[in-house]
């Protein structure tokens, strides 16, 4: 092997390790990576009454979400899914924010919010239909107030804002949370959603998971200022939270939701986290980022730090962890079996929901398609 080929395979340190765009992130943190609970005058009150059982619940949510995510990655490798977008590393940001919500709140996700979907009670297997290619969104958004995954990044922030404007018109005290990422923060739609929500004082929380990478582009390709500071220019508060700290993510989101309910308008939460895996199963991070960076973030793992805290505080015993391990494996098995059993859609599904009230051309083309299929001698179609 030549020197050149080695260099080509491994990113140089200068390209792979980067300085954060901010000089020093002002990070809200309640649990250190070592699992130590640190005081925070502003946000402690939002988790002051949290019980050991609820803490174990957060831990369970994160472990099961990670297990589901790992199973989905495996299913993609086995050819059962066409693609998977892993949330590995972002469990705390998603479970913390997801568990801050009330049932009547409404969620607008991107395509990576598997942890939030879990919190909303969307069956994990339902998330896999679109990645298997049997549908483009397999759940009823209104049964869990969890909108369909949005693939074109940033678009959903406007839908969230409109929905929140509707809540305000209805005089309700529900709130909306819009998920997006550091890459989407560059989209015009996100800027427009900030403008609209500020002007109409809409009850919406913009929850940006800054996972440091938009496929291969680092955050400094998106912004010169820390993302949470953008809110200031639109006239509403922004805060950066340790997105690998489930307790801090929960507290900060609760605070932001309370503001929304109290008629104080939008809030931007930047959950500072890390995409531990590839962008999707089609991506190859070894081409653009260094292993050292990932290793540094591994030390801040969201699940490990809560486990350390639970153990140190005697909030969970070995039985709990063992039981969770069993539950976790059962979930993996259930997901695996459900995906393998997922049938291909009927071929006429192509036409089925193109319009709500019908369309003459669709009717005509469906009839033509049916006639073509029927023209095969065995009646089984092409």
């Amino acid at each position: 092997m030549t020197v050149e080929s080695t260099a080509a395979r491994k990113p140089r340190r200068s390209a792979g390790t980067r300085k954060s765009p901010s000089t020093k992130p002002e990070l809200v943190q309640l649990l250190t990576p070592e699992g130590k609970r640190v005081k925070n005058v502003e946000y402690d009150k939002y988790v002051a009454d949290i019980t050991p059982e609820e803490l174990r619940g957060l831990y369970r949510d994160m472990v099961l979400t990670r297990r589901f995510d790992a199973e989905a990655t495996s299913l993609q490798r086995q050819g059962e899914l066409g693609l998977w977008a892993s949330l590995l590393g972002q469990e705390a940001a998603q479970i913390g924010s997801g568990r801050a919500l009330r049932d009547d709140d409404y969620v607008f996700p991107t395509y990576r919010e598997h942890g939030v979907a879990w919190c909303r009670g969307v069956d994990p297997t339902n998330l896999l239909g679109m990645f298997r290619g049997v549908n483009n969104g397999g759940w009823d958004p209104n049964s869990n107030n969890f909108h369909l995954y949005t693939i074109v990044i940033g678009s959903q922030t406007l839908h969230a804002t409109g929905y929140a404007m509707g809540i305000a018109k209805d005089g309700a005290d529900s709130a909306v949370i819009a998920y997006f990422g550091d890459g989407a923060s560059s989209q015009g739609d996100v800027a427009e959603s900030f403008t609209f929500s500020a002007v109409y004082n809409a009850p919406v929380v913009f929850f940006c998971q800054n996972n440091q990478w938009a496929i291969s582009e680092p955050t400094e390709k998106q912004t010169r200022v820390p993302l949470y500071q953008r809110a200031q220019g639109f006239g509403f508060p922004g805060v950066r939270v340790d997105g690998n700290d489930v307790l801090a993510s929960l507290a900060v989101t609760k605070w932001a939701l309370e503001r929304a309910r109290a008629g104080e308008g939008p809030t931007l939460v930047e959950a500072y986290t890390y995409r531990m895996g590839a962008h999707t199963t089609s991506d190859d991070p070894s081409k653009y980022r260094a292993d050292e960076e990932r290793e540094a973030w591994e030390a801040k793992d969201p699940i490990l730090r809560l486990r350390r805290y639970l153990e140190a505080a005697n909030h969970a015993d070995e039985g709990f962890f063992a039981e969770l391990e069993t539950e976790s494996e059962a979930l993996g098995r259930r997901v695996r079996e459900a995906v393998r059993a997922m049938p291909d859609p009927d071929r006429f599904a192509i036409f089925e929901h193109a319009y709500a009230d019908g369309h003459a051309l669709v009717d005509e083309e469906r009839a033509g398609f049916a006639a073509y299929q029927a023209s095969f001698a065995d009646g089984e179609g092409a």
């Binding site: 958004p141 369909l148 839908h159 409109g162 509707g166 739609d189 427009e192």
Partner: protein
Amino acid sequence: MAAETVTFKNMALAKAINESLRRALDTDPKVLVMGEDVGKLGGVFRVTDGLQKDFGESRVVDTPLAESGIVGTAIGLALRGYRPVVEIQFDGFVFPAYDQIVTQLAKMHARSLGKVKMPVVVRIPYGGGIGAVEHHSESPESLFAHVAGLKVVSPSNASDAYWMMQQAIQSDDPVIFFEPKRRYWDKGEVNTEAIPGPLHKARVVREGTDLTLVAYGPMVKLCQEVANAAAEEGKNLEVLDLRSVSPLDFDAIQASVEKTRRLVVVHEAPVFFGSGAEIAARITERCFYHLEAPVLRVGGYHAPYPPARLEEEYLPSLDRVLDAVDRSLAY
């Protein structure tokens, strides 16, 4: 006011849309009117004049100047159960919203396997002939008709403007409502009791035997003038007002062409990949043995919409349509 039987003898097309929006706001509390300058000003064409005064700022919403934001928030409002009618101020300003319309609005129903409906009307004043600056005279209807999930309509007269707006607002599918801005001040009779017919059906506005002229929106009036001029030369033209571009009433065109055996399609939009191309292809398929001449098209050229001093050269005119009629009849 909706309960009264009222026939307006002489109502401008713009006023008919205004009355229709007023009726919708009055009868359905979920209907919203949104857009730039639609409030106090009543829109740059005064189509929403007086609505905010009567229904308040929560129902008739002045928006920030961001078209993607207007359509994107309308989608969110529709998800919340509202029926937003949004105004895009001019045809050439719709493109910042094109992504939201094509990628989200059009596909949401299918994406949700029918669980979610998108009753959103996007009003777009369109077309030329008013001597405007760039981006104020375009006809982008084909760009929307090409997208499954959208419906595209364009009224040609005050009565249709009134009723088609009622029907568009009642539709559970998104409707792109193209308003012929050069006809905003043309007056006609509007009966607010009698529904003239389904939203997506064409109408024969003049019966004839020698050739069919097909148009919609601003070009219907021109085609009627062409038919009158041709009548002086002893040619008896049929004029069909399509009213809807998607779905498109091919049955009505077919019925007419089977009678007249000749077809000329007229629209302001560029001919290349325009709705006339689709009509020509389908009618050729459906009426191959009936046609005495190839389907001809009259429309804009494959060039950016010209400065106002040249627009009369660019737009279909009486003489250009008559020329196409003559060419068709010469076969």
